[in-house]
């Protein structure tokens, strides 16, 4: 029946890692296009959001106090509105980008 795709892929990678060949430049020289940029941003925002959610979940398990306590602590810092707005933007932007681009992928 021949080789499976998986076998061929492992052979490819074994041969190439063994020969220690340099990787030819790809992302550094190729002209960036909008689809490429949007796609990698989608992936980047996805990974960042995932790690953020995981951090939140782990924090919930590890931290002694409840959420309102920490929120009150942040409120007590009396941060300026510009800082608070920027922080919200930093959270909202990856979320919105990933959501809207995700819809684009689904459609």
């Amino acid at each position: 029946m021949g080789t499976t795709a998986r076998e061929e892929m492992s052979r490819f990678w074994e041969k190439n890692t063994k020969s220690n060949r340099p990787l030819s430049p790809h992302v550094t020289i190729y002209k960036w296009s909008l689809p490429m940029a949007m796609s990698i941003t989608h992936r980047g925002t996805g990974v960042a959001l995932s790690l953020g959610v995981s951090l939140f979940g782990l924090a919930a398990l590890v931290l002694p106090e409840q959420f309102p306590h920490y929120l009150a602590q942040v409120r007590a810092l009396s941060l300026g509105p510009a800082l608070l707005c920027s922080a919200k933007f930093l959270l909202a932007f990856p979320f919105c980008y990933h959501t809207w681009n995700g819809i684009r992928h689904l459609v």
Partner: protein, 140 residues
């Protein structure tokens, strides 16, 4: 102009896209390219599952805004964790090579997703819950 799949293959190291026999599930995030010789349907089902969870998660967003509560909280915890787990799984499939490395990475991912889900459920049960937390955070 280069088509999107070709452009994307520049970002991903594995160059082999045509597979006569799909033995590895979750390889192709652009949809099944045809089952060909009647291999297992695992990859195709996984792909469909990914889209289904994405749509579900999308629907949960207005639900969280309009009717916050434990039902939406726990659904969000589940959908969010699963969507993230599958997404990170695709990232691992694309960039991690070598049998042991792949196994280690996927095991780590399972651990992370399990802990995340546990943490989110714990938060929903013992704390204010996801919907309320987002509302409170945004009211700062």
């Amino acid at each position: 102009p280069l088509s999107v799949p070709t452009a994307l293959s520049l970002l991903r190291r594995p160059a082999v896209l045509a597979a006569a026999h799909r033995s590895a599930p979750a390889r192709d995030s652009h949809g099944p390219a045809g089952q060909g010789h009647g291999g297992s349907k695992a990859a195709s089902l996984h792909w469909t599952g990914e889209r289904a969870v994405s749509v579900l998660l999308l629907g949960l967003l207005p639900a969280a805004y309009l009717c916050p509560g434990p039902a939406v909280d726990y659904s969000l915890a589940a959908a969010l964790t699963l969507h993230g787990h599958w997404g990170l799984g695709q990232v691992i499939t694309d960039y991690v090579h070598g049998d042991t490395a792949i196994k280690v990475a996927n095991t780590g991912l399972y651990a992370l997703s399990a802990a995340t889900f546990a943490g989110l459920c714990y938060f929903n049960y013992h704390d204010v819950g996801i919907c309320k937390a987002v509302a409170m955070l945004w009211s700062l």
